[in-house]
Subunit: 272 residues, 2 copies
DNA sequence: GCCTTCGCTTGATCGAAGTCAAGGCGCAAC
DNA sequence: GTTGCGCCTTGACTTCGATCAAGCGAAGGC
């Protein structure tokens, strides 16, 4: 079942190869926000999608690729606030973000939300649900989003036939383990905020979007929550970074001015 | 190559089934420390080993199981302080702890160690190295340890033939993702310490050891580092918990007295 | 024996970030 | 228009845990 696919035959993003290395020319207008991946076809994945790499290592295996496409379902769009899945829901599928931004969060015993991550187009959510066979977190749209849904049982079956897919799943999960440990250190508020912005910048760059100008889809409170800080602290740190001319921020529009200096500030969080 | 296997034909641990639910009778002596798994044979894994579960879901597949055994190498013993692997070493294998305790840690840009985890017999280390093909952390013995070494390339190949193995690897990695997020919350020192001790207790219980009496293999400084606290704070919290009669601790010997009260104290960390 | 070292504890002080409170700005509804 | 409501910022004060400093006891070397 392909849902609303036509609704997303939208402007394709900036050319992949060049955009990876070249920042967008300054336009005076805010950076492109809510970017959307192109939609792929029977033999090509959405350009930003992580699973596009599955076929790279060993060359194409057309029948297997077709099989992989058969278990993909394009779903959405969904409005901001939409729950992709909820904590404790039975685990049936993993999702690749196709457009917009998704946050994942857990709610502790007393109703306090803890944000686990923000997910950009091309990134995968749901891999942490395999162990318990239930999603251990909520996944909530921060924007209008669109997704690719991959039935996980079908994917597992296919992975035994398609070693490249199995490897890709191993790689993605391994990466998630490392990523989850990044925030666990005892870092200062400045280090955390700087690392957060640089991480976003790098991930935008990896998907072909500008690494120096982008829009934050989430409110300050969500950033603070994710970084385990108070919203007031995030606000103060951003002001400090702006006063030092490391960046400019107006509302949710970010413009990184001195990436190297920021990287130096965040070096303990990032380089390990 | 089987190394030093004879050296570990030691007393088998407490019977699995009963030990899972029954605490050891108090003996007046300290709890058994540095417990060791039995060694398995051609068709059975070491009793505590996580990979023993591989064959459970679908019944046995003897030829595949033999293949899995062929890629296992029993190594050790190694003394306290021994590096199983170091950060940036090429990734070749994952390890299951067979005896003793292993810690993993990263060292940041300025030489500060950050401990990522402590690993008990039966637990697996190295799964976070797949993505970069280099270990992203150090793994260091806290005790005299013994290990099972699984060649990862061989394991991946076998996993395509043995769906149960692939699933087990997915499960293990998925669990690691969830586990890595546990400490990331902003919890108080008391909550962290209580959760740490309960987590250890539960993991000992799952391996058939006492859940209420055990020995900490690591110095206070390592516990503090792992929990992102100062060693002095850990010391003070332990004293506080002891003053409230929740536990007794003498040096590194722990005796949990009021597990329910501890669990209540740590509920925000554990129940999510 | 003595001395050093290391791990642990305890007390006193300090500081980074949290909390509380107030106010501003943008935006949608009326 | 203005009212109300999020979202964000800023200032004043508090607090939890870090840091500094001292001391104790066990283990190991000589």
């Amino acid at each position: 079942m392909i849902v609303n696919r036509a609704a997303f035959s939208m402007p394709t993003p900036y050319a992949e190869a060049s955009a990876l290395t070249t920042a967008h020319p300054p336009t005076g207008k805010p950076a492109p926000n809510n970017p959307i991946a192109d939609d792929g076809d029977a033999l090509h994945f959405c350009a930003t999608c992580t699973f596009g790499q599955v076929c790279m290592p060993n060359g194409y295996d057309k029948s297997a690729l077709r099989a992989l496409h058969c278990l993909v379902e394009h779903i959405g769009p969904f409005p901001s606030g939409h729950h992709v899945f909820r904590s404790h829901d039975p685990f049936t599928a993993i999702y690749s973000v196709r457009a917009g931004m998704v946050k994942t969060s857990v709610v502790d015993d007393l109703g306090r939300e803890q944000i686990l991550g923000f997910f950009l187009p091309g990134e995968i959510i749901g891999l942490n649900a395999i162990y318990t066979e239930r999603y251990p977190c909520n996944a909530i749209a921060l924007d209008t989003i669109a997704l690719c849904r991959f039935s996980f049982p079908a994917m597992v079956t296919l992975a035994t036939r398609l070693p490249g897919l199995q490897e890709q799943l191993f790689r993605l999960m391994s990466k998630d383990i490392v990523k989850a440990t990044l925030l666990a250190g005892d870092f200062s508020a400045d280090e955390r905020v700087a690392a957060f912005l640089l991480d976003l910048a790098d991930r935008y760059a990896a998907r072909g979007f500008s690494a120096t100008r982008f829009r934050l889809s989430m409110p300050r409170a969500d950033i603070a929550n994710y970084l385990r800080l108070a919203a007031e602290t995030v606000s103060r740190v951003l002001r400090r970074l702006q006063d030092q001319a490391l960046l400019r921020i107006e509302g949710r529009e970010v413009h990184l001015l001195q990436v190297d200096a920021m990287r130096h500030l965040a070096r303990c969080v990032l380089h390990r």
